[in-house]
């Protein structure tokens, strides 16, 4: 089992495999995005309370989900990298951070856009938005730590450690912020037993969520490949690759 993992996680193997996957992932992301956006922005009915402005949830909610999901993925990859010293896992953790920060920023901006018609202000200190802002700080901390440490191998292990510490703290931070202020709407989507939103509204939301997930994998693969080439530039496989591409 471990042997299989180490083989799959070896940089040259991953590089070759991910190269085959990338076009497909990109295409699927694009298709799902078109379907989800059409469903959400055009096909879904108008909300009787919030009018058209609710449609921003098709970006906001999946982005907010992704912001947490990617942090978890980053911490998990970091833990694997720290424990089994798998380089690929370290790289995945490092490369996840900017994507996660991007989604967090997207969630913040769309949340603020949504807030203007809802609450009449671009920013309110609502619990979820505040937690999201703190999450952005956590991502920025991870990214700046990586940049600050010159030895990239050491830097990625430091990042992994920080991501793990952050993972333990995120629930605590979220819970604290909820305690501090509970103004936001309750979570409506997870109540599947008694769906409180229309299926035509829900379906595009789920499609968008899947689209964002696949986008993450796609963007992650692209980043990891570049990072691997950069880090392993002295190894045999990168030199061979370079040689091949020059001949072609």
């Amino acid at each position: 089992m471990m042997k299989f993992i180490h083989k799959t996680a070896s940089p040259p193997y991953f590089y070759r495999l991910s190269g085959l996957w990338i076009p497909w992932l990109g295409a699927i992301t694009l298709l799902l995005l078109i379907a989800g956006l059409y469903g959400g922005l055009i096909a879904a009915p108008t909300d009787y309370q919030q009018g058209e402005s609710y449609r921003i949830i098709y970006i906001h909610v999946p982005a907010a989900w992704m912001s947490l999901f990617i942090y978890m993925a980053m911490a998990a990859a970091g833990a694997i990298g720290l424990i089994w010293r798998i380089k690929l896992a370290e790289t995945v953790a490092v490369c996840s951070a900017p994507i996660g920060a991007g989604f967090t920023l997207l969630a913040l901006v769309t949340g603020s856009l949504w807030g203007k018609p809802m609450w009449g202000a671009w920013w309110v200190w609502d619990a979820r938005l505040t937690a999201e802002l703190l999450l952005l700080f956590l991502y920025l901390g991870v990214m700046s730590l990586y940049v600050a440490i010159p030895d990239k191998r050491v830097a990625s292990r430091a990042v992994a450690l920080l991501a793990l510490v952050g993972m333990v703290n995120i629930p605590i931070i979220h819970y604290s912020v909820e305690w501090w202020n509970t103004l936001h709407q309750g979570p409506t989507v997870t109540k599947f037993d008694k769906p409180s939103i229309d299926m035509r509204m829900l379906l595009p939301l789920l499609i968008m969520a899947v689209a964002f997930k696949i986008y993450y994998v796609w963007a992650l693969f692209l980043r990891v490949r570049v990072e691997l080439l950069e880090r392993e530039r002295n190894t045999q496989w990168v030199k061979e690759l370079l040689h091949q591409s020059k001949e072609a």
């Binding site: 010293r85 010159p150 030895d151 191998r153 880090r231 530039r233 002295n234």
Partner: protein, 212 residues
């Protein structure tokens, strides 16, 4: 009997391969002299051997062997040397605002310990008249001597010394050589780097040359 086994060690720093496929077998009573130009990775090798730095590849194993028992410990694992190794790096590790004796008292509580008393080791390194002085008042050579006194208190089997002769005068160098010989005779192991030429019995010395 103790020994240190190093297998296929390699080290990369800032994208440069410092060394690769280093293999070492060092046994009780032997000294490993690591040689190489500036920047050849001597310090990195020593820091990997003492467990501070992770190697890019390879294993370092510390083996304890008695008549009927043998136990091996991965140096980069949880247990590491468990105090059986003492390291002297470029930095002396002294607290400047503590006195010589206070420094050694603290080191003693950290170490496994042996029969040497603080007074004893201060005499051996030639600091017996400075025991109450704050380290900030000592010269660089004297501070190095204090660091060596710590080594003598440690009770460690394996000494890893990075340029132990730095800042020492002739007498100091002779003193360190004497103490290293004593350590080897007691069945200890020593790994060191040095720019000075050293005089030890040739049958005890293993040389490792790091060169590109």
């Amino acid at each position: 009997m103790m020994s240190l086994e190093v297998r296929d060690l390699s080290c990369i720093r800032d994208d440069r391969i410092l060394f690769s496929d280093v293999n070492i077998n060092l046994f009780s009573g032997q000294l490993l002299l690591v040689e190489g130009d500036n920047g050849s990775g001597k310090t990195s090798l020593l820091r990997i051997l003492c467990g501070i730095r992770l190697p890019e590849q390879g294993q370092v194993t510390w083996v304890r062997q008695s008549d009927d028992q043998k136990s091996s410990i991965a140096v980069h694992g949880q247990e590491s040397y468990a105090g059986e190794m003492a390291f002297l790096g470029h930095l002396d590790g002294n607290k400047l605002d503590l006195s010589v004796t206070e420094n050694l008292e603290f080191s003693r509580s950290l170490a496994l310990g042996n029969n040497n008393t603080i007074k004893d080791v201060l005499e051996r390194v030639g600091l017996e008249h400075f025991d109450d002085l704050q380290v900030s008042n000592l010269s660089a050579g004297q501070r190095r001597r204090l660091a060596l006194a710590r080594l003598l208190l440690s009770g460690a089997y394996l000494w890893i010394l990075d340029e132990p002769f730095t800042a020492l005068d002739k007498k100091g160098i002779a003193m360190v050589e004497r103490e290293i010989n004593a350590q080897l005779e007691q069945g200890g192991l020593v790994i060191m780097t040095s720019h000075h030429s050293v005089s030890f019995d040739n049958d005890k010395v293993i040389k490792l040359s790091l060169s590109q």
